[in-house]
Every structure is written in C-alpha cells, then in structure tokens.
C-alpha cells in the first residue's frame, strides 16, 4: 500500500508531544521546583500535570469538532477569516520566540559542559540548520524523527538515571506536604513553562487521519511526562538535598556527573548524556519550527510551508543572539512565558471551543469519530 500522505498516526502524536515538551527546562526543573516548594517540589509538577490533562482534553475536543483541520484553518471558521489569520500569525510569533529561547538555553548548556571555546553562533547555527533540513521534509518527516529518537534517547537515559541509586538518599524528600496551599498556588504560574508544548496539539491533531483517536496518545504522553519530571525532581532532591539543589543551575546535569556506571569503563557520563540531550532539543525545535512555518504559510494564505523555513530560521538565529547573558535570558523567559504559554495553552483553546459551541459550529461528536 503506497501511502503518500501527510498524516500522522496516534503513536506519532504521542511521541511528538513527549519529545516536544521535554526539552531544555528538564535540566533546571529540579532546581526551580525545589526553589518554589522545597522538598515538596514534585508536588507542583503533579498538580501542573493534572491541570494540563484538562487543558489537553479541551484541545482534543476542539479539534474533534473540526476533524482534519488544524487550528490555523478552523480558527478562521470560528472567528472569521482575518481574525483567524491574525491569531495564527500571533501563534507563529510566539512559537518563534519559544524556539529562540530553547536554542539559546541549550547553547549555553553546551558551552558550559561540552564546547567551551566554540563560538555561540556556530553552535546555534549548526543546530538550526540541521533542523531546517528536517523540517523541510514535511510533517511525516517530523513525526518519524520524533518516533525514532524517543527510544534512542530514553533507554540510555533511564539506565543512567537509575544507576545514580548509590548517591540518592530518599530521606531528603522528607518532610512531605509541609508547604501551605497558598504557596503551592502561587508557584503554579511560575512553573507553567515546563509543560509548554501541549498547545501544539492544536495543530498536530489536525494532521491525524482519525482525530477521534487522539485522546489516548495525548493523555498518556502527558502522564508519561509527568512521571518523568517527578522522577527527575525526586532523584535530584534525593541526591543533593532540597537546599543545595536550589543553588545548582542545572541539577540534572550535576546529577549525571556523579553517576558512574559500574563495570562500564566510561566514567564521567555528562558528555555522553549531554550529547543525547541534543536529540531532545532537536526534536523540540523541529516540531515547533514545522508548526511555525506552517502557521506563517496559513496566515499568509500560501499553500507550501517549505519555503518559509529558512527565513524563519534566520529570524530565530538573530533573536536567540539578543539576550546578553544567561541571566538576561532567564529574565526574559520568566517575563514572557507564563503569560504566553497560559494564553495559548489554556485561554485560546477554551475561548475557541466556547465560541464554536455557542455558534453551533463544527461536526457533532458522534459524527466525527
């Protein structure tokens, strides 16, 4: 059966979601979580995960009443052609900023651990150019690459994580549940970015052949990410203690440095694992970049999205070089992302769904499955 399709399967949707959401913030996740809530840092991740499951449900519902269409298309139906295009354009801008941020953070990490003298420009440029090559292959290429990279990354990663067992002291996670609820609520907005990426489902579900099948993969991937994040936070806090972990910029990297695989002759694994981390950043950028170029092509009304990739990449490169230092970068991130992510992940889908329901648009539930 020769398939010449631009569609993705449910499994690919799950892989894309997982690989996109897991990118650079995993390194600093434990520090941020412990910074907010101390030994209860993992709790906020669980809460966020649950919130995001609801957000995902909203998104899936929205997509299932417009089967086969991405948000770029059905937003034009719901709120009109021009506002729809504006929304899509805004989305593209937001995504471009995300990519620039991720690229820059990752480059900083690489410069810290792997390549010290290599100019930032070179590291970034080489990464985005490779991503360009992939994105030009269309949604199928993006989906497949995500599929392939998932086991290549996670299997060694889990092995390394588990071998940190000797240095872990789980009593460091005590006492539990000591933080007052107000503090928990206050921390949620600050940690939102860690689950950023679910909003891409607004597009990717539109590429599925059977959008009704999107529930299982999306929910399962969020649960997987949740467990993964909790595991990392728990391990880091167990290894370093809640107080010390807040002082390390990238605790996960520090954790990996202290792991030594028994019997294997490789000692300091941070180089190896960071190289594997290139894979996850790559998949994130690729998934987001594809959507960004797709959005622009839809907003501009053209059919093909391939030609927008390279110009976008130039813009991203320029943007990523703007922050003068790591501190400035994090400042910008903390300024923009809580609002942007919340807007696109929660507000926009909910608003569109409500509007669509009110205006009685779209396909009925039992018809679309």
């Amino acid at each position: 059966m020769i398939r010449n399709n631009d569609t993705i399967s449910p499994y690919q949707l799950a892989m894309i979601t997982i690989m996109t959401i897991i990118s650079v913030e995993v390194f600093s996740l434990a520090a941020e979580a412990a910074d907010e809530l101390g030994t209860d840092g993992w709790l906020i991740i669980v809460i966020l995960g649950i919130i995001n499951i609801f957000a995902a449900l909203v998104i899936i519902r929205l997509n299932s009443i417009f089967p086969g269409k991405t948000i770029a298309e059905y937003s034009q139906i719901i709120i009109g052609k021009v506002p729809g295009k504006v929304l899509t354009g805004l989305f593209a801008v937001y995504l471009i900023i995300v990519i620039a941020y991720v690229t820059r953070v990752f480059t900083e990490v690489v410069k810290m651990f792997l390549l010290f003298r290599t100019p930032t420009e070179v590291i970034m440029l080489s990464l985005v150019l490779v991503c360009t090559y992939t994105v030009r292959g269309g949604v199928e290429c993006v989906a497949r690459v995500n599929e392939l990279v998932f086991p290549i990354l996670f299997i060694p990663f889990f092995i390394v994580l588990i071998f940190g067992y000797p240095i872990m002291d789980f009593s460091n996670l005590l006492p539990v549940l000591q933080t007052p609820p107000e503090k928990i609520l206050a921390s949620i907005p600050r940690m939102i970015f860690s689950f950023g990426g679910i909003e891409l489902a607004l597009y990717y579900i539109g590429f599925m052949k059977e959008p009704g099948k999107a529930y299982k993969p999306l929910i399962i991937s969020i649960i997987f990410i949740l467990l993964f994040f909790v595991m990392i936070t728990v391990f880091c806090i167990a290894a370093f203690g809640a107080k010390t972990v807040t002082k390390i910029i990238w605790p996960l990297a520090a954790y990996i440095r202290t792991v030594s695989l028994p019997g294997v002759f490789l000692e300091r694994l941070d180089g190896v694992i960071l190289s594997l981390w290139v894979l996850t950043v790559f998949t994130t950028i690729v998934s987001v970049l594809f959507i960004a170029s797709y959005s622009i092509s839809k907003a501009a009304g053209t059919k093909e999205q391939k030609q927008y990739v390279l110009p976008l990449v130039m813009i991203i490169y320029y943007l990523a070089l703007q922050p003068q230092s790591l501190a400035e970068l994090y400042e910008w991130g903390n300024l923009i992302f809580p609002y942007a992510v919340a807007a696109f992940m929660y507000v926009v889908p909910a608003a569109l769904l409500l509007t669509a329901k009110l205006r009685k648009m779209g396909v009925k539930r039992n018809e679309s499955d």
């Binding site: 009593s171 300091r268 390279l310």
Partner: protein, 379 residues
C-alpha cells in the same frame, strides 16, 4: 526555485566557513592531567604580591614513564596567587601543555585554609563553579601544609592520586577511614550550617596514612578526632560499612568483624523541654580472633561476647556524642537531620536556637544490637 537553491547553497557555504575552526580541539598529548590538588594559605616567604592568598600544588603524571621502570612517575608543582582561577591561569605561563582537571581525584586542604572561614568559602565557590572540576573528588585535611602530601613517594604505586584514592576506598572495609567527596562536603556544609567532618591524611616519606578526621564548625576547623573516634563517628552517622571492633572478654582480646552497620534514630520522648533520642545501632558479623584452646562456637558464649561488643559501641557512642555536644558544640551526628525530616513540627519549634538546644537539651542514648553469626574456620 532558484532563489531557494541559492539560499540553500549560501547556507551550506556559511556553514563550511564557520566550521573551519575547531575551537575546542586539544590533542590528548597536549594535555597535562592534574590528578590531585592541594590548597594552602600562602606562606609569607612565598608571597609575591600583597594580595596573594593561596598556594596551590598540583600533581601530574609523566606519561612516558608510566610503563617503564620502578618508582613514581609523577611530578609536582605549585602556584601562588589570590584566587583559584588566577592560579590556574598562571600555569599557562609556565607549561606548554594545557592542564586538564577532568580527572582530578583528590583535593587536599591544608590546616591553615580550613581555619580561615572566608578563604574556605572562596575556595569552595571557585571549585564548584569551574566546570572542569568534578564534584566526586575526595576531600582531605592535612595537618600542616597540603604540599607535604605531594612529596610522598609511594612504595608500590606509580602514581600518587590513585594510591590515595585507593586508600579512601578501603572505607568499605574499615570504619576508621571516612570517604568524603567534594559534593558531600558542600552538601554537608550547607545542611549543617558550616559543620563538617573531613578525613585527615598524614603524609610520610613513602606512604600516607589516612586516619582520624578534622572537625569544622561554622566553616572553621575546631579540632580533630583520632582514628578510634572516627570509627565511632562513622557508626553514629550511618556511614560505616565494614570494620573491626576489638573487645576484651574475660581477659582475652577478641575481634568482631562486620561488613554492614546500620543506624536508626528514634524519638524516645519529649519531656521537660528536652528531646530524648535513641540511636539504634545494628550490626552482625563474625569473631575473628580469640585464643587457642578455648572454643567459642557456643551460643551462650557468643551472646556474652556480643553483649561486650554492644557495650563497647554504646559507651564509645555516648562518649563521642558528649564530645560533640560539649567540646565541639556542634551537631554533626545527624540529629538535626532526623528532626527536620521526621519530626518537622517539633523541629520548627527549636529551629531558631538549634545550636544551643543541641548542647543543652537533647539527650541521646545509644543502643546497640550485635549479632555474631560466624566464628571463622575453627571452633
């Protein structure tokens, strides 16, 4: 289409131009591996500028001589400067090969450095921040100057650092040796508010001896433990693994050997504003030495010997605890840790004046449970 093609070509060309430099490539033979570092405060005689604070000593192997001939195959050198990183950059003025610290195994602190709070904090920051240092380095205190360690010419080993690190790893077999990595050190200093117990290394001519430990409080050295006390410390902090305990039973010296040692803490009661903690020590092992002519494979006898060992553990334990409470006035035995984790509400009430509370109002009892399982090959 042609525009796209030329853009692609331009991108690739740009890549090629940018990739012409291999900025981070340093050939392996152009690196000088530093296997150990020593930190001392600078002696007046060596001070070159008024700002100089440290003497750093380094050990590097002489790679050619590793295989051939007897005798050590390493060299030492030192720098004097006012910061860690500046010292490292000084090395670039003197050596053609670039130092590489990724394999540095040991860091030795001279006594003077650990007596100076500010100096210690600066050093620790420099070391934690620099990416090349690995935080699994073992840390030691040297009574005297750290550079003395590097004058040792080990009897059997070619390189100094693996020799010393190997001794540290004997801590699996004896509880008189403490193993402290740099990351442990930093975590402990953070959690215990500047308190630390750090293994002591005594350099000789052809060997070193790691016995005993230095005690720090508020980032300052306040005293030492001898090797016996060190093993008790290991028991009390649940760090001990293997070891031998010597007791006298009816005039006969006998040795109890264990490979595992567990410590649990329990809160007995809170009374009259005092907290009563019970440190429960559990271990099992074998008898290694008795006396020819007497048979010990006897249940009653073994129980009595184990009672002797238990008494020994309890006495030594309580003695050391008192020493910490009264002489050192620092909680380095894990009480704070236990209280903050397992009794958080209680801990909150005493958190502010914990130091004083520890000295006056925490009463610790040590209970030991020793089981003798085996007696060796003869009865």
């Amino acid at each position: 289409m042609r525009a796209i093609k030329s853009m692609k070509a331009a991108a690739i060309l740009l890549c090629v131009l940018l990739l012409t430099g291999c900025w981070d490539k340093i050939e392996i033979e152009d690196r000088l591996f530093v296997l150990s570092i020593g930190v001392d405060s600078v002696e007046l005689a060596e001070k070159k500028a008024s700002k100089d604070k440290y003497t750093l000593s380094f050990v590097s192997p002489v790679v050619d001589q590793i295989k051939e001939g007897p005798g050590p195959a390493f060299r030492t050198y030192k720098t004097v400067d006012n910061s860690i990183i500046m010292s490292l950059s000084q090395l670039l003025e003197r050596f053609s090969k670039k130092q590489f610290f990724g394999h540095t195994r040991n860091i030795f602190f001279g006594e003077d450095v650990l007596k100076d709070e500010k100096l210690l904090k600066e050093i620790l920051d420099g070391i934690s921040r620099y990416h090349e240092f690995h935080n699994s380095m073992y840390a030691y205190i040297v009574p005297g100057r750290a550079e003395e360690v590097f004058k040792v010419k080990p009897m059997y080993d070619k390189l100094l650092a693996p020799y010393i690190a190997g001794i540290i790893e004997n801590s699996d077999y004896t509880s008189k040796v403490i193993k402290l990595t740099l990351s442990d050190m930093i975590i402990m200093l953070e959690n215990q508010k500047g308190g630390l117990v750090i293994p002591r290394i005594n350099p000789g001519k052809e060997e070193v001896k790691i016995s005993g430990a230095g005690v720090l409080k508020d980032y300052k050295l306040i005293g030492y433990l001898d090797d016996q006390e060190t093993s008790v410390y290991n028991w009390l902090t649940d760090k001990a693994k293997g070891g031998d305990i010597a007791v006298e039973y009816k005039g006969i010296s006998t040795v109890f050997r264990h490979f595992d040692f567990d410590r649990k803490i329990e809160l007995s009661k809170v009374e009259n504003g005092n907290i009563y903690l019970n440190y429960i020590m559990e271990t099992e092992g074998s008898i290694e030495e008795f006396m020819i002519g007497k048979e010990i494979l006897d249940n009653v006898l073994l129980k009595e010997i184990s009672r002797e060992v238990e008494k020994r553990i309890e006495n030594e334990g309580e003695k050391l605890i008192k020493k910490f409470q009264q002489e050192f006035k620092a909680d380095l035995i894990g009480a704070r840790d236990y209280l903050s984790k397992y009794q958080p509400k209680l801990y909150k009430t005493i958190e502010k004046d914990y130091e004083k509370f520890f000295i006056d109002s925490i009463v610790i009892e040590v209970t030991a449970n020793v089981s003798i399982r085996r007696v060796g090959l003869i009865k």
